[in-house]
């Protein structure tokens, strides 16, 4: 476990509330980011953030340190988000039609794949583009979305993501691959439209 986390946890368990605030400061940004991407609603994300850290405070005494604190924290945060999603009851189902987003080979011909902009980060200058990206992420079923966020946005390893979500490394890899293919496909649809419409992709 991270030494700073362990030191803070020891102090918190000794009754030091400032140490808890320091621990919250270390992770609040990451947890909020996870929640905004999972829930795509700022109020729900803020509620999830508050609920998660309250659960952390309540659970710290029984946290035995078998896993990293961050793994435990993200497991709590992901579960809080998944619970909120379940309550909404409007999320995409567990099936991901990922094959629909693969290039289609017809009559032995290769599909036409459009070349993407050289510097994709320029795309992010556009508010519309960021919105499209978040929309695409929202279309993933929650269990695929969680894997993609942990692995590709937060930089977890396969085993850390697996431990956080309680699934095998093989399941992480499979969901991640499908999630990436679907997101690529959704963004490709947008880029192709953007090309037709001119240089709006890089404008605010």
């Amino acid at each position: 476990m991270d030494i700073q986390d362990q030191t803070l946890i020891d102090k918190i368990n000794g009754g030091d509330f400032q140490a808890f605030e320091a621990l919250v400061n270390r992770y609040e940004g990451k947890v909020y980011r996870l929640a905004t991407r999972m829930l795509r609603n700022q109020q729900d994300a803020e509620d999830a953030l508050q609920e998660t850290f309250l659960q952390v405070y309540r659970g710290l005494k029984s946290f035995e340190g078998r896993s990293n604190f961050s793994t435990w924290l993200f497991r709590l945060a992901t579960n809080v988000c998944l619970m909120k999603i379940r309550h909404r009851g409007t999320e995409p189902s567990g099936m991901l039609p990922w094959e629909d987003y693969l290039p289609q080979h017809e009559d032995g011909e290769h599909p036409v794949i459009q070349e993407w902009p050289e510097k994709p980060e320029e795309i992010l200058l556009s508010k519309e583009s960021r919105e499209k990206m978040m929309e695409a992420l929202e279309k993933l079923p929650p269990e695929y979305r969680a894997v993609f966020i942990l692995r590709d946005i937060e930089g977890f390893s396969n085993s850390e993501a697996g431990e956080t979500l309680g699934i095998s490394v093989a399941a992480v890899k499979s969901r991640l691959h499908r999630a990436r293919l679907v997101l690529r496909g959704m963004l490709a649809e947008y880029f192709e439209k953007g090309k037709d419409a001119g240089p709006t992709l890089v404008e605010n």
Binding site: F17, F20, E21, V24, E28, G29, Y32, R33, E46, L49, Q50, F53, L54, Y57, R58, L102, P103, H105, G108, E109, H110, P111, V112, I113, Q114, E115, W116, P117, P120, E121, I123, L124, R130, M133, L137, F148, D152, I153, E154, G155, K173, L176, H177, R180, L181, L183, R184, L187, A188
Partner: protein, 94 residues
């Protein structure tokens, strides 16, 4: 697609080794550096001759990069303040 590309691609359809479909299945492992070195070599050989697969992997990498960039968004100050107020109040009763 240019005539040149069409020619190149029909040629790659007939080439031996990995098929495009197999390539698609392994792209994430390739990007993450988790692919067996021999399969990796076969995949790179295929991509030398297959322009669509090359473009596809480029766009997949860019998709990941784009979402990674969004990770730098900071926590809004007012959210931070409300969180700490909430915890100070709620944790008193714990």
């Amino acid at each position: 697609m240019t005539e040149d590309h069409k020619g190149k691609e029909s040629q790659s359809l007939e080439c031996e080794g990995m098929e495009c479909k197999e390539i698609l299945e392994k792209l994430s492992e390739y990007i993450d550096g988790e692919l067996d070195p021999q399969i990796c070599k076969d995949l790179e050989k295929h991509m030398q001759d297959c322009h669509p697969c090359l473009l596809f992997i480029d766009s997949l990498k860019k998709t990941i990069t784009l979402f990674k960039y969004t990770a730098s968004e900071p926590l809004p100050q007012e959210v931070h303040l409300r969180l700490h107020d909430y915890l100070r109040k709620e944790c008193k009763d714990c």
